[in-house]
Amino acid sequence: MTLLAHAIAAAPPAPLSHEGLRGRPLAWSEAGDLGLWSTEWAPDIKLERPDALEHHRLVERICAAQPCLPVRFGTAFASSDDARASLDKRAAALHAALARVAGKSEIALTLLWREAPEERTIPSTPAGPGRRYMEGRRAEFAVRETRRARAASMVESLITELAIERQLVWHETCTSDSVAVSLAVLVPTERAPERKADLERLAAQFTDVFAVLNGPWPPYTFARTD
């Protein structure tokens, strides 16, 4: 039997139903004043795509019952002893992370460009193919840089308008041709609907992107301990 990890929480465990992934038993492995919620898994059962989403629903259920740190999906332990040893090794960092996310949830904002990147017209010159290639590359680079600068300015505007500490915000810009900004904010759970509405209102001011809001989610982005 292996244990498929879901979330770390402080002992004692919240009273949860004993149903884990695919209806298999949900286990609690306690190490000192920490514990790991996991599903008792069988090595011959392959993880499937829907298991990732079910893991998400399980983590949501655990986080609703007690403050918890989501564990990266796919992490497994050969035994409960292995799980306990892993918690013991990083107990101080895990406690600090738990204190940071307790009572908080994550709101995710994605800003998607409304238009494909504009294609710069390369002046027709009697130049040879090498020169035309270089002009083309320069034009592409200029478009990319313009978009990066615009995305960065949107992030700055959001952080300023939200009046939130920078350590409670994570963001990436221009991760693909479609995505301008991917941003996560850690907010008090009881204020999550209000802060989500704030983000929606602020993002609506940007005319060149449309906003996709998700959450409140468990604090995935802010659960790192490194």
Partner: protein, 62 residues
């Protein structure tokens, strides 16, 4: 450019959270499950998201 719908973007953001965020327990942890390497598993889940995007594009095109 692949045009993302709101639904596509939500799915991709969630998959990113599940596979790339959260606590990484290493050392005693077995970073594969049932013989499936995590990288393969990650690709598999992300491919599911990409399939959704492709289907959405096909729907728009038809």
């Amino acid at each position: 450019m692949k045009e993302l719908t709101a639904e596509d973007a939500s799915l991709l953001e969630l998959v990113d959270r599940l596979l790339n965020k959260g606590v990484v327990l290493a050392g005693e942890a077995t970073i594969s499950v049932a013989g499936i390497d995590l990288i393969y598993l990650g690709l598999n889940v992300v491919l599911a998201a990409v399939e959704t995007i492709d289907k959405a594009q096909e729907r728009r095109a038809s």
